[in-house]
Structures are given as structure tokens and as C-alpha cells.
Amino acid sequence: MSRVKPQLFWQGRKKLGLNAAKLLPVCRTLESTANELRWIKQHVAETPSIIPFGARVWKLCDKRGKGLPLAYVLGNQPFGDLEIKCQPGVLIPRTETESYTIHLSNILRRSAVSSSKSDPADQQPLNIIDLCTGTGCIPLLLYSQLSRSLPFQSLNVVGVDISQKAINLSRQNLHHNLGAHRFPAPSDKSKSHPLQRSLHFLKADIFSSSAVDPILSTPVCSEQCAAQEAEEQQQQQQPTWDLLTSNPPYISPSGFLVSTSRSVRNWEPKLALVPPVERVDLHQKHFYHHYYPDDENLLPTQKGNVEYEEEDVFFARLLEIARTYRPKRVLMEVGDMEQAKRVVGMVLGDGKLRKLYFGEGTEEEKGGTVQIWRDDLVGFEGYEEIMDIGKEKIVVKGHPEGHGRSVYLRRVGVVDA
């Protein structure tokens, strides 16, 4: 990181006042300093207090100047049309997440509208689950986008996180945005309502089957789920999760030291960024048991064409969940194109997942979709590119300059409009 030129400091001081000198070491350019200073002033002007305006601005600039992320300084971050509260200890929602969440809600809305057009009586319930939800930004935005006047029988959204802090914050966020009337309130279960809406945040460790299974099996009738053999046929009729989303920790321990920015490294929770080491060790056995049950002694590097790095452990677990509960669509945020390729490799390398989400036979017969989405998807839906991963051709969507951001799976037989 290059040094900030001293002349910028006195230019900033002359043009923007003393506060600019505080912000410059963090913001690095005058333009960005002017923006942040404006947002801080706006925030102070909007929240009443007995402390004088100038003193509060000064204090917030001081905090920001020490590297604290702006979202923690101001206590919130805009996300779509929502305002998400942020606290130290919970990951700040990113714009990339916002971008694909909006795209995803558009897909869900369009396919619901087109399916209800073809058959008005056939209104499906919509069940969405978000694992590693953090501030609850993804479920809240999906709920807000989908809860208004839609052809769903019911809308059921669940967010799951391991951290109590995150669950508390996500519930706060629900009430905060409800208070501001940004979306309709979840409907009361006891009253009969034309459109049943629910939004819950639950604490659970997604690696512990005993904790997460009751949550995951809710939309599926529990007694059928118990019988593994009967599952195959009966799940055809049973309601399932329509969408499984997740923004899990995906940075490798070495990447955390090298590629993260300073304010992320120093202030944001490592729990939300880097998969814990003990988790990796524990899960590696677990993972290979699932993927290669007959060949347990093989080392990761010898496993044929399935590549696997330690930071991918959450994806392995998520795919395992997808194997069992067969959600109609899965979206996982990934760190870069390399990781996206590895995740796609995991899907294709597993027979059952491949059958579920990629399909078999010739091009025309395959009904499923495995896609990689880049940043900058909204407004650039037209961009498409074919990438070879293993022996298969995978569609990559989004503006070609964007980083690989997420992996999208759609089950065979499910149609996106």
C-alpha cells in the first residue's frame, strides 16, 4: 500500500476541514474522504442527541480514522432498500452479496409469476433457508422483495447462524426494518390469512446434524424424512426448500493474512471469514466418507479430479446438506473464480449431486443448471461465457471484468423463467 501524499492532507484540510485529516489515512483519496465525511455528517444530523454536532462528527471521524469500518462507526449499512444494523462481531453485508441477492429474488419472482400464469390454481408455497446468515441481510432482503403481492401460497424464510450475537442482531434488524415499514409483518400463525408469511432466525451449528436437522427438515414432513429408502419417491410430492443460500466463511488462513484489507482483518469477526482449523480436521474425514465411502484411506490430493482446499470445508458441508435435503435451488457465495471452480468440481465429482443438479445424458436431456455468477450481474444479465471445468462446460454469467462470486445450482426439472 503506497503512502498517502502529505499534500493531500493539507489540500483536504483546506477543502473539507480538519476532519478530513482524520479520515484520509483510511480513505486514501480526497473524493472518498469527501463522501465519507458527508455520510458521517448526514448520520449525525439524522440522529438527535444533546452532544453538539461538531463534537459528534469529530468523534466519529476519529473512530473511522483508526480503521474501524464505516458500517460499524455509523451502526448500519444500506442493503437493497433495507437498512441493516451492524455491530462489531458480525460481518458487514457486502455489495456483492446485495447484487446477487437482488438477482436471485428477481429469478424467484419471475418464475413464480410465470408458473401461476400458466396455471392460476397452482400456487406453490415458497420456502427459503439461509445458512451462516450473520446480520440476516440475505433472508431480510429476499423476504422484503418477495413478500409484496406475489402468487405464493405462503412464504417461509429462515436464517441460521452459529453466533448468538449474529442471531440477536438479525432479530433486531427484523424489528428495525419492520418499524420503518420497509416490508409487511410476518403473519400470525393462529389467524387464517390469505398469504402466510414467516421469517425466523435460529441459532444452530450447521456441522452438528442433531442441531441443524430439525430446522432443515421442517418444510419436509418429518416422519417421511426418517425413512431413508422411502425418501426418494415421496420427496417428489413433498414440499422442499425452494432456495438454499449461504455466505459461509471462505477465506483460507494464509489468505486472511495476505489478501484481506486491514479494516477487515482488524475489526471484523474471524469466525465469519475463516473456517476454523478444528472444523477442517473434523470435517475432512466426514467429507471423504461421503464422497468416497469405499476408499477412506486416500489423501485429499489423490482423490482423482476433485480438488479440495481447507477453506472449502463449508461448501463440502453445504453440498452434503443439499444432497440430503435436495433444495430446488442452491446459491453459495465464493471467494474467487478458483474457489468457484473447485465447488463446481465437487458437485460434478459426486454422483448423486451430479444427477440432481447437473443431469445426465446429452445436452438436451440435461435439465439441471450449474452456473458461476460473477460480480455485476444486475444490468448485465446478457453476458455469458462458457468455461471448461473437468470435462463439462459450465456457464459463467455476469460482466466479464467481475470476480467469480457465487455458484448457483438448480435441480433437474425446476424451471427458471
Binding site: K15, L16, C27, L30, E31, S32, A34, N35, E36, R38, W39, P69, L70, A71, Q77, P78, F79, G80, D81, L91, I92, R94, T95, E96, T97, E98, S99, I102, N247, P249, Y250, I251, G255, S259, T260, S261, S263, V264, E268, A272, L273, E333, V334, G335, D336, D375, D376, V378, G379, F380, E381, G382, Y383, H399, E401, H403, R405
Partner: protein, 436 residues
């Protein structure tokens, strides 16, 4: 009444003799001031043609119904009604004129009394007819974006841009329009101006009411200010300018297929593959690795080179949405202008000065003389504070521009008809010659 405070006698005499004085005295407040006393024959011709067409259409519709013909008949029925009314009044006027020549003194008196009223009525009817004949602006029913860009010339123009911005905001408030600030960018140096003005580098106001474009389209152009700036130490008057662009905006919830931005036929359609999006791409991987606050979006439309940047909001998606909206509006208005320029080629060259482009100075706000002058309608009003507060005086100015625009549209239409008629005549002449 000399422009200079004092001129010595000999100079004054020489000035008077040379005639320079007279030309100096003439101040041209307006560049064009059309009057519409009598109706030009072309317009009447056109109305007659339309009436004939209407008659034919109704006859055709009686025998068998056809939706396109019915639509056309509905469109021109207004013109036909206005024409009929006009004919009736004209007949009445003729009768009155005949009565004036009668021998009965009492009758003559009566006819004289009626004559003025009938003449006036005829005039309004003429206006009415021409108004029904003028084509409606295709974006007239749309909401609009008002963009303010200070002209070159330092802080003074930027200060005045802020004043204009507030003027339009208050005007919208007074008129009951809903206005939303889309972008408000303060300039880097922030010397305060008169009455707490903040220098701005660009501002965009969105008026979301349908029909706002028609109400504000006369505001587009250079607005000139003459005053002593707050930064001026020696009391000299400065002249600076602010460019105001009025763009049609795409309504948020619209089912109008013609103006749907997903419809490639529409003016608002922008092919996403032709747009380059530049935003701060942080080095490294993005996502969880960084928590950048940079939310600026810059869109460039490659074929036209139109560039839009937005950085007001902390939310990138909001900035992106606003940037796309602005880009669509600019492109739509550019396409419209291009089409108008093509139509202009058909018209008489005399009228070219009436074509309003962004570069023309349209209005002057003079603080020293407490005066606001519109150079198109030629209206001169005082009580500048009321104008800048968006009060009824500004309303008066805007209305005068509206009627000027209508008059201009009619003149353009007539010119176009004439040009077409001439072209047709020329064509038939040639044919005749060819036949011989």
C-alpha cells in the same frame, strides 16, 4: 436616457449624428416573439384536408368497421369540431359585416356592438384550432429529470446553480409536484455564497408526477445570472450561467409498451452490452476480503459516449439504479433530438433560430435591477425574490414560456406543411415536364 452615467456633450452629439446611439439604445429582450393574429392559410388547408378525410372515414366506417380507421377518425374529430365552430363564427362575422352596411341605424349600432366580441371569439377559436392541430410531444406525459450544471466561470455559477436548484424544489412544493433529489454534489471548494448558497458541481432533481416533462420542458437551456457575487470585493457585477437540462424520465410503474425500457423499439431502451461499467474495483478478491465504502458507479454508453456517474448514496445498488435511470433518460432525449433534427431539415431555414438547443441563453436573472427576463417569450418581470422562491411570479414566467412553445410548435408545423407542399408541387412539376 443614456446607458453610461455621464457623457460629455461633444461625444453625445457625435454619437447622435453617427446613429450609433440609436442602436445602442435598443435592447433586445427577446430573440423571437411570434404573434398569431390571423390563421395562416396553410393551417386552414390542413384542417380542411383533415375534415375531408374525416368525412370519408366516417362513410367508410358506416359500411364496415375497422379499428385503425376508427382510431384515426377519433384523433382528427377534435380538429374537425374546432373547424366547424370556426366556420360558424366566420359566417356570423360575415353576416354582421353585411348588417353594418344596412340603412337602419339601430341595426348598425347592434352589429357594431357584437362585432368586437365575435372577432375576439374568432381569434380564440383560431388558437384552439391550431392547438388541436399541433402534435403532442411524445414525452409530454412523462415524469422528468431536471439536471443543473454550472457553466464555466468558477464559484459564482456553482453558487447560482444551488439557488436554481432550490428554486425548482420550492416551485415543485408550491405546485404540489413530488420532487426527489437524485444527486446533489457539492463542489470541492466550499466558500459560502449569498444567502447560504453552497457551490455545487452537479445536481439532479426528479419530478415524479406524470406530465412533469410537459410542464418543465421550457426550462431547458442556459440560465444567466447578473449580480455582484459574495466573493467579489470591489462591487463589480458578474455574469455567469447555469445549464439546465430537462430529460424525460421513465415512470417507475408503467405498463406503457411504447416507453417500456425493455422494449427495443422504445427510446429508453439501452442495450446492456453497449454499456461499460466502471466502478472502483478494489485490488484483490473482493467479497469478504474487503469492506470498501466506495459505492460510486460510472456508466459509459459506448456508441454515444454519454457518461453518467453516481456516488451520492452509500448503497451501490441504489447508485446503480439511479445511474441507469439517468443514462436511459439522457439517451432517450438524445434520440428524440436527433429525430427532431431530421425533421428540421424539412422545414424552412428561417425557423432555425427557434430550434432550442442546450447552448442558447434562455433567461436572465438580474439581481441589481430585481428583474427576471425570459428571452423567448420576451416576458420581463420584477420581484426577483419571489421568482427564486418558486412563487407565483415564476409560475407566470413558466406559463409564458409554455404558450411560446405552443406557438412555436404551430409555426414549425406550418413550416413543415409548406415544405412538404412545396416538395410535392416540385415533384408534380417534374413529372409534368417528364411527360412532355
Amino acid at each position: 436616457m443614456l446607458a453610461a452615467p455621464w457623457v460629455c456633450r461633444s461625444c453625445a452629439r457625435s454619437l447622435r449624428r453617427s446613429g450609433v446611439f440609436v442602436s445602442l439604445q435598443l435592447r433586445k429582450a427577446s430573440t423571437a416573439n411570434p404573434t398569431l393574429a390571423g390563421l395562416p392559410p396553410v393551417l386552414i388547408d390542413r384542417a380542411r384536408k383533415l375534415a375531408a378525410e374525416h368525412q370519408q372515414l366516417t362513410k367508410q366506417l358506416e359500411s364496415d368497421y375497422e379499428p385503425t380507421a376508427a382510431k384515426r377518425a377519433g384523433e382528427i374529430s377534435k380538429v374537425v369540431a374546432a373547424l366547424q365552430e370556426l366556420d360558424k363564427t366566420k359566417a356570423a362575422l360575415d353576416e354582421l359585416n353585411g348588417l353594418l352596411e344596412s340603412d337602419d341605424a339601430e341595426l348598425r349600432q347592434l352589429a357594431n356592438d357584437d362585432l368586437d366580441a365575435t372577432k375576439k371569439h374568432l381569434e380564440t377559436l383560431g388558437m384552439n384550432l391550431s392547438a388541436t392541430l399541433t402534435p403532442k410531444h411524445p414525452f409530454a406525459d412523462m415524469p422528468c429529470l431536471i439536471e443543473l450544471h454550472p457553466g464555466p466561470g468558477g464559484t459564482e455559477g456553482r453558487h447560482f446553480a444551488d439557488t436554481l436548484f432550490r428554486m425548482y424544489q420550492k416551485y415543485c412544493e408550491n405546485k404540489g409536484y413530488t420532487a426527489r433529489v437524485l444527486s446533489y454534489q457539492e463542489a470541492e471548494d466550499r466558500t459560502p455564497g449569498l444567502d447560504g448558497e453552497v457551490p455545487i458541481s452537479e445536481a439532479v432533481l426528479e419530478v415524479t408526477d406524470p406530465g412533469a416533462f410537459a410542464a418543465f420542458r421550457g426550462e431547458a437551456g442556459m440560465h444567466r445570472v447578473q449580480r455582484i457575487p459574495a466573493t467579489e470585493k470591489q462591487g463589480r457585477t458578474h455574469t455567469s450561467a447555469v445549464a439546465v437540462w430537462v430529460l424525460p424520465s421513465f415512470p417507475e410503474n408503467s405498463t406503457d409498451a411504447e416507453n417500456d425500457f425493455n422494449n427495443p423499439e422504445s427510446d429508453f431502451y439501452v442495450d446492456p452490452t453497449e454499456v461499460k461499467s466502471e466502478k472502483m474495483r478494489a485490488s484483490g478478491a473482493g467479497g469478504q476480503h474487503v469492506n470498501k465504502t466506495e459505492s460510486a458507479i460510472r456508466l459509459t454508453h459506448i456508441p454515444t459516449g454519454i457518461q453518467v456517474s453516481m456516488q451520492d448514496s452509500r448503497s451501490q445498488s441504489q447508485n446503480r439504479e439511479r445511474a441507469w435511470r439517468l443514462l436511459r433518460s439522457r439517451i432517450a432525449s438524445l434520440r428524440r433530438e436527433q429525430r427532431e433534427a431530421q425533421a428540421k431539415d424539412l422545414r424552412d431555414s428561417v425557423l432555425s433560430q427557434a430550434q432550442m438547443s442546450r447552448g442558447d441563453k434562455i433567461r436572465t436573472y438580474n439581481y441589481q435591477q430585481d428583474r427576471c427576463t425570459d428571452h423567448r417569450s420576451g416576458l420581463d418581470v420584477h420581484n426577483l425574490p419571489n421568482v427564486l422562491q418558486g412563487g407565483e411570479i415564476l409560475d407566470k414566467v413558466i406559463n409564458s414560456v409554455q404558450s411560446w412553445l405552443t406557438a412555436m410548435d404551430i409555426r414549425n408545423l406550418i413550416a413543415q406543411e409548406e415544405a412538404q407542399a412545396r416538395a410535392a408541387e416540385g415533384g408534380s412539376d417534374k413529372k409534368k415536364k417528364g411527360g412532355k
